[in-house]
Chain length 320, copies 3
């Protein structure tokens, strides 16, 4: 999330009751979780295991729970509970607004776009020209829909991320990391019925132009689809995934979080992709392998009885 | 389902045109299907294979299609078609009500809870305090939502069970067992977008406090989730399943009906669990096995060609 | 799609700016894509690979991009871009209508059917008697619902097909083949919550009488289910599939496009069916095989270590 205007670290240190170290005169232009940080951003870290990753990231300002050495030009905001500080900032700059009518008067909707009855459009949503939004679609606050986009019935754009801070010493183990990101649907995208596309936690979930999603496709927070991707029914893409251009995922494929899939790669139906995979290849299986390798494996499995009998026969012949 | 007040067996035997045997002066306090029976309950059975299970169950009163020996203190209601008798009782005590407005005036909704536009709330629904119900959510009659619950857009709470009486001698093979149970969502639960949670056939489907469900999760009738469970996107849990506390089901996992999963057990993505599994373990595969066993299997499969070549080489060397 | 009345080829050739060859005095009674053509139909073809299939199909009139020999009694409409000609015809005879109210005044709804709040019913929809349509269900234009049908909350009937003309030389690779077909739900069908049933591209998607669908079931365009089929939660059936009578698909099964499944066949949970399968059998696995074969395979896989040790032992004993 970008702030409406740069926020001085001195104001932030007071707001968070934080000790400010390093480049104390600077201002932050936004806040992001570690997967999406850019120059000028705040980020937070509360476990020594991830200190270096955050300190060395693109983020300029680090909310941290221990005094460590500050990289040159950056600043630290030292607080006891960095996660709570993050939530406090998000709540302040993205307060809950609610909607007392189905189409927010603060949404911007292209005059040539058509919305069927039962559609919900949240605050600050932008919808381009020549879009077709089918009945009972839900588009939550701040999401951006390009031109020539079709969204079929019952689909939800901008649900909150399934992304939790875990602490098993609390009665309630999982505390939601508040979503302040968006969904951005580029031009000329078609989305089927009954899909769910989560907003970014702090950045954008993006569906690239020319992409086509079938029914009941789930896209997790902060995932980015390239151009002309094709996702068949009941595909699930977890959070912070990157799909290249022209990627094809056939029905019921599952993609694990924070991985990337190269351009033009095809994943066959029901496969489960657990790690990043290359461009221009075909994958199959759960866990997925290159389809040619996987198919050979299936042939080998069918030959096990033959193997067994060869061994048994020889055992008899050789007396072993 | 509990009756509004105890119902005398003599009234019931007249209502059902049943022959009453055993403890004829008693009253029933409720009716349940066999997986959920309690003391004071009616239950029904129409196949000799299940007679003993029902007669020996916690149920006090058995609707049955044959005169059998009645266990001491219990009573039998003998009718020709016990399933029809069950349906007649459910229809009488839980008649169809319908709703001519989206939010039933007979629902109870905490003043501090927020409902977006497009939400449907049925009759006798209870919603606690500080809940957030997103657009186009459907909560059907009699369901109970605790405090601090989040339900994201398009989710359906209290759909009817997928539970049928099968008889292939009828033109229509599958006759629905009418649902008279509820969904109970405990405090501090968060449910994603596009989920469906079926009500109990006669008992309660329960989502334990602290649990988190991602998008497009399906929970079948009468299933009970413990506290702090975590279910990722597109998980399907069939009917009458028991999940312990702190169970984690990753994306697209499927759980077969009427089984149990022990506390803190983790099921990896796309696995299919066909039978009950223990606490504190990690499972993988379809059918699921302990993940360490399954992973070793995958390694062994990759070694089949090596095995083959060893045998071939030896065959040549030994002349076999 | 049938035309409202027969359409003369001479009018069509002018409308499409096409060269007309063969039986030029005839009239077309409808238009269909190749999987659904009947006598009197128009069909289109734009690739030499499929010329013969279309020319020899049941279709009487072929929109084609090259002058070829015309089968006797048939006619050719020769145009540069047959796909565009198809789209032009569909747009003319099935123009976009939209709906400014949730229940179209041009729908026909049986007086004894009950619609909950939040339901959308499109133009020309027909709903029979004694149906129960739960909250927030969407039924798009032209769909037909029989008598005694239950459709649970949030389900979408008549979404557009996931069916595209692909051309990677365009900036946008996938151009939608406009759907002009319908969904036909026969009598006595029950459909769960959160399902999506796509309309036929040019023909009908049919759910046979007595069938039961659990929650989150997806049925692709032009697929036809027989009578008394049972589909458990999160099943996905792709386009142009034929299911016989009494077919059972357990949870999370996926069925590939344009195949057929014989009567009374059962596919076990999470299986993936890639080709047509026979009647009266049980299948399992992804890719699916007969369950007995698949289960034997799983046993053989578990015996690989034993095989390995046998070979190792003998190698030592025989000195190889």
């Amino acid at each position: 999330m970008k702030f409406p205007s740069p926020v001085s670290l001195s104001w932030l240190s007071e707001f968070l009751d934080a000790k400010l170290v390093g480049n104390t005169g600077a201002s932050a232009t936004g806040i992001n979780e570690i997967h999406k940080v850019e120059k000028g951003d705040l980020v937070f870290v509360d476990h020594p295991k991830y200190y270096q990753k955050c300190l060395q990231s693109a983020a300029s300002f680090i909310i941290i729970n221990q005094a460590v050495e500050c990289p040159p030009g950056k600043a630290l905001l030292i607080v006891e509970q960095p996660f709570e500080a993050y939530l406090k900032i998000v709540r302040h700059f993205r307060p809950f607004e609610g909607s007392d009518q189905p189409i927010s008067p603060r949404a911007t909707i292209g005059k040539t776009s058509y919305l069927y009855p039962g559609v919900f459009v949240g605050n600050q949503v932008q919808i381009g020209e020549r879009c077709m939004i089918h009945p009972n679609v839900v588009i939550m606050d701040h999401c951006v829909i390009g031109d020539d986009v079709v969204i079929q019935a019952g689909t939800v754009i901008g649900s909150d991320a399934f992304y939790y801070n875990t602490n098993k010493n609390r009665a309630s183990w999982y505390k939601r990391m508040l979503s302040c990101g968006r969904v951005v649907i580029e031009d000329d995208v078609e989305i089927g019925a009954g899909c769910t596309i989560d907003r970014g936690v702090s950045g954008d979930t993006v569906i690239g132009s020319g992409s086509r999603l079938d029914n009941m496709v789930h896209i997790g927070h902060d995932s980015v689809l390239g151009k002309n991707c094709l996702l068949a029914a009941q595909v699930a893409v977890a959070g912070a995934v990157e799909l290249g251009n022209g990627v094809i995922l056939w029905g019921q494929v599952g993609i694990n979080k924070t991985l990337s899939i190269g351009d033009h790669t095809v994943v066959l139906a029901q496969s489960g992709v657990g790690g990043s995979i290359e461009a221009n290849k075909i994958y199959f299986g759960s866990p997925a392998e290159e389809a040619s390798v996987k198919k050979r494996e299936l042939v080998w499995i069918r030959r096990i009885p033959e193997l067994w009998h060869k061994i048994m026969d020889r055992g008899e012949q050789s007396g072993l």
